[in-house]
Assembly symmetry: C2
Homo-oligomer: 373 residues x 2
């Protein structure tokens, strides 16, 4: 696996800044951890929203990574294509000190990550500079760049998908009536660490019986029982990249109602996968699955979108849902995960992670735990 070229990525960002018709900036201020890592290689997370581990400032003449003393050494070692500036107080207070290095007037910011308060404080400080600098939303520019994966990123995502697929095989093989949802979730976490993952890409969902009707159930002390649906929605993070897979399993044969629901969800998923290609709109793919579920009489019980992009974040673009139409593109990596949820009774969800190639979608999650009801 080759390393990414951070120089190429920042060059591409600068080209987008110059040519964008959506936003008018000559520099970018990057604080979202995934975008920061994508452009620089700096891996630190933010411990809390108000506790940034660093900011990139990128313009034609600038490649600055502004951080604090906790992270200086890590920043210098991980992001050699950037000059590391260590703040004396904090990002906002230090603006007058480090901006005399800079050469831009319209600074783009990440409008879906920057808080209202930090925007206000930063805008005030930048306005006091001579000449003043103004803040302008980047309109998701870096997030959009990340939606088209490079070859080595697809390899990284496939490794993460492989790992969770194998873990899920082992976990499903071990499932027995009487173990709690929490037990199963903990087994998944232990196997992920033993396999060398950095951790889970999100808190595992292990939802049995009526709990499986909650799409975002938190593992409980409920003991799993025979013949009821058990949803396992899990993923690992490996070298920064996330994976995401869902299987619904039964210990012993379910009743006809759940067999029908399972068949419907599987049919909806396979039909949607069959229609994905590099010229299709996201809304059409969503509609294929949604119509099959509605035609089977479960239209009211599929309340979420069909899928989401996966990369350095578990949930990113492109989003596949009934709302905004997006043109799918070669290099997109996303999930296809229809579900049917009957309140009080239970639910079924099936999720694959795919990469869109010229020939169509290639499934990255290789786990054969399906029923032929």
């Amino acid at each position: 696996m080759n390393a990414p070229s951070y120089g190429q990525r920042t060059a591409r960002l600068l080209q987008l800044l110059r040519t964008s018709t959506e936003t008018d900036c000559d520099a970018a201020w990057i604080i979202k951890p995934e975008n920061r890592r994508y452009l620089s290689g700096f891996t630190a997370e933010d411990t809390q929203l108000t506790e940034s581990s660093g900011a990139l400032l990128i313009s034609d003449n600038d490649r600055w990574l502004v951080t604090d003393s906790r992270y200086t050494l890590a920043a210098e070692s991980e992001a050699p294509s950037f000059s590391v500036y260590t703040v004396k107080k904090n990002f906002v207070e230090d603006i007058p000190d480090f901006t005399h290095h800079l050469s831009f007037s319209h600074l783009g910011f990440e409008e879906d990550y920057l808080t209202w308060d930090l925007h206000r404080k930063t805008a005030e400080k930048l306005a006091e500079l001579s000449p003043p600098v103004t803040l302008t939303p980047l309109k998701g520019m870096v997030d959009h760049m990340r939606e088209i994966k490079e070859v080595w990123e697809i390899e990284a995502l496939e490794k993460a998908a492989d790992m969770i697929s194998k873990i899920l095989d082992e976990v499903i093989g071990d499932l027995k009536p009487g173990v709690t949802e929490k037990n199963v979730a903990w087994q998944i976490e232990c196997l992920a660490r033993e396999a060398g993952a950095e951790g889970l890409s999100f808190p595992s969902i292990v939802a049995s019986g009526p709990n499986s009707a909650l799409p975002h159930a938190v593992p409980s002390n409920r003991k799993i029982q025979p013949r009821e649906p058990i949803i396992l929605d899990v993923g690992v993070r490996l070298n920064g990249y996330c994976s995401d897979i869902t299987r619904t399993v039964f210990l012993g044969e379910p009743d006809d109602a759940f067999k029908n629901i399972y068949r419907t969800v599987l049919h909806a998923q396979r039909s949607a996968l069959g229609q994905i290609n590099p010229s299709v709109q996201s809304t059409l793919v969503d509609a294929i699955a949604r119509n099959i579920i509605a035609d089977a009489g479960f239209g009211a019980y599929f309340g979420h979108g069909l899928g989401h992009g996966v990369g350095l974040a578990t949930h990113e673009g492109p989003r596949l849902g009934p709302g905004k139409a997006i043109q799918l593109q070669i290099g997109n990596v996303f999930t296809v995960e229809p579900g049917i949820y009957l309140p009080g009774k239970g639910g079924v969800r099936l999720e694959e992670m795919v990469v869109l190639e010229a020939e169509g979608p290639r499934i990255l999650t290789k786990n054969g735990q399906f029923y032929d009801f």
Copy 2:
């Protein structure tokens, strides 16, 4: 342990809204997960910043918990003092639908959590209402409420502190040269789960040798060695409440330089603890520790604040640092954690979590792993 009275908390918030001279709102829009839980009992986390699990709307006549279908059942069961509204599309798009229930004109928002983009979209929708509603920053009102802990919260924090103190005893007892930092971090996580914690309150720091010079080191594959400093900065989350403790240990006797550093940090910490009382300013407490470290010749090597509040979040108010002076108050729970970090060589940090009572600080972290160098 009694349960909290969510009714009393919302009543107090409304009283603060009416009497505040800092902000002028007649309602509060709460989306920060800790604040949401504090006021309602709804425990769901946000999976990502752009993926809220719900919002509270609180005014004299309103107690709404606005969520989506993934969380409706959990919201109804956990937050019975609120009326649950399930959005059809999302919070912003649904504003015209649920606001005809409402009766306020100045809606307060959490300026350090709300993103610039969501503020803009929400403000636009609220302005279209008749009569229009405007958005006003809450200026940390709920965060400030959380800084003074109720008796049962102090009990919850003490239980979380007890648990991590015991875990740390076991982990330090097991430490041997040759185990990796990652091994130790994983042992801590396993012990936390076995003890019944919801999880860690933050990713454990296990930093040995030169890594201990990085205040926010990530556990690596480095094998720990005799006579070098090993910083363990760890915490668990129990019933929503966090704990946070740091010990620095040596396997075998360190050299005189590190003995001196250790002595200095311990003296700085004990001196600061000795001066804490309900009438002292945070900056004075910080200065006591900072001056001792500076007088010993290490002033340039203590780059962070002395401590921070702990509660539903690991890092919250009050902050003890050299910057803004805060009057400490009875019921504050916070850390006292001076450190000295020599780049390339190593560091020492010692951290206790204390509650401020009328008689002074009471240490909640009961772990005796100290050296008498």
